[in-house]
Symmetry: C2
Subunit: 144 residues, 2 copies
DNA sequence: CCCAATCCTGACTGAAACAGTAGTGTTTGG
DNA sequence: CCAAACACTACTGTTTCAGTCAGGATTGGG
């Protein structure tokens, strides 16, 4: 339930990769410049994305990153969780288990759980394919 | 989009107040003990809740706090925003305006906005009245 | 072969936010 | 008058955030 710059940058990078499918591996530097993401920070993000199996890396000169799956098979939830860890309610259920002893026997917890479920649903139903299409529409629209 | 202990404690306190409607003002100390919330921390939360017009305070001996409106007229969104500030997407739209220059012309932003809207919807549709009812059901159910 | 481009790894850091704590003042019922 | 309660300000230790820094490993091209 905590979204940081990692998710923002990570999603931008993944959308960029998805719209560069044909171009072979894309370097982190290119993405960094085009999307205005700090280069070394972006490199760190790709560690998480690669470990999660969302991108494949090609090392060496002319190397770079590419999507490991089709854009329609990668959703935002996977990206967010790869970068931020499991998407759980930070409230009432932190890293060290339950904060309160009430477990499920707490009406407040039900609200936090509903909130988390709603977030998961939004993120899970948004695929890279959809976002690339949406971005294309935006970009092709006349300014103003 | 950032939920902290303030929201957790605050909601517990508000639920407690809602189930103590008949008892006149309830002291912060009582809530602190019953809900296991650090006393001085809880006091700070009531500052925000009072300024938001969600509770009314009675000073002096035998004083305390009470809901300023009927439980069905107070929703979780109001409580959360009273304690954490406006519920906006922390991603792509921070305190210092837009992080990127893309404004609305960004497919990624659409996802974050959808997420925020989903959260708002969950919180807005959950009232204290509902939560008290839910808590009563939980408490009256036999253990195990 | 060498070098530059590229990914990979780990440590480090300044600033901010989080989760309280401490101390003091003000009001008021008994 | 005094103890109980809210009100306000300031402080603090810890963690997270958002990067930065330094170097190592791998590879294509000249």
């Amino acid at each position: 339930m905590r979204l940081t710059a990692k998710s923002e940058y990570g999603l931008l990078a993944m959308i960029y990769l998805a719209s560069s499918l044909e171009d072979g591996p894309v370097s982190a530097r290119e993405i960094s410049e085009q999307q205005e993401i700090p280069a070394k920070f972006l490199e760190q993000l790709f560690v998480g994305l690669r470990q999660a199996g969302l991108v494949s890396a090609v090392r060496g000169a002319r190397g770079g990153f590419a999507l490991a799956h089709a854009p329609e098979d990668i959703n935002v939830l996977a990206i967010v969780e790869a970068l931020e860890g499991p998407l759980v309610a930070t409230v009432c259920e932190g890293d060290r288990g339950l904060t309160c002893g009430r477990s499920g026997a707490c009406a407040a917890a039900a609200v936090w759980n509903r909130a988390t479920a709603a977030l998961r649903d939004v993120f899970e139903s948004a695929t890279l394919a959809e976002l690339v299409t949406a971005q294309d529409v935006i970009d092709s629209r006349p300014i103003g």
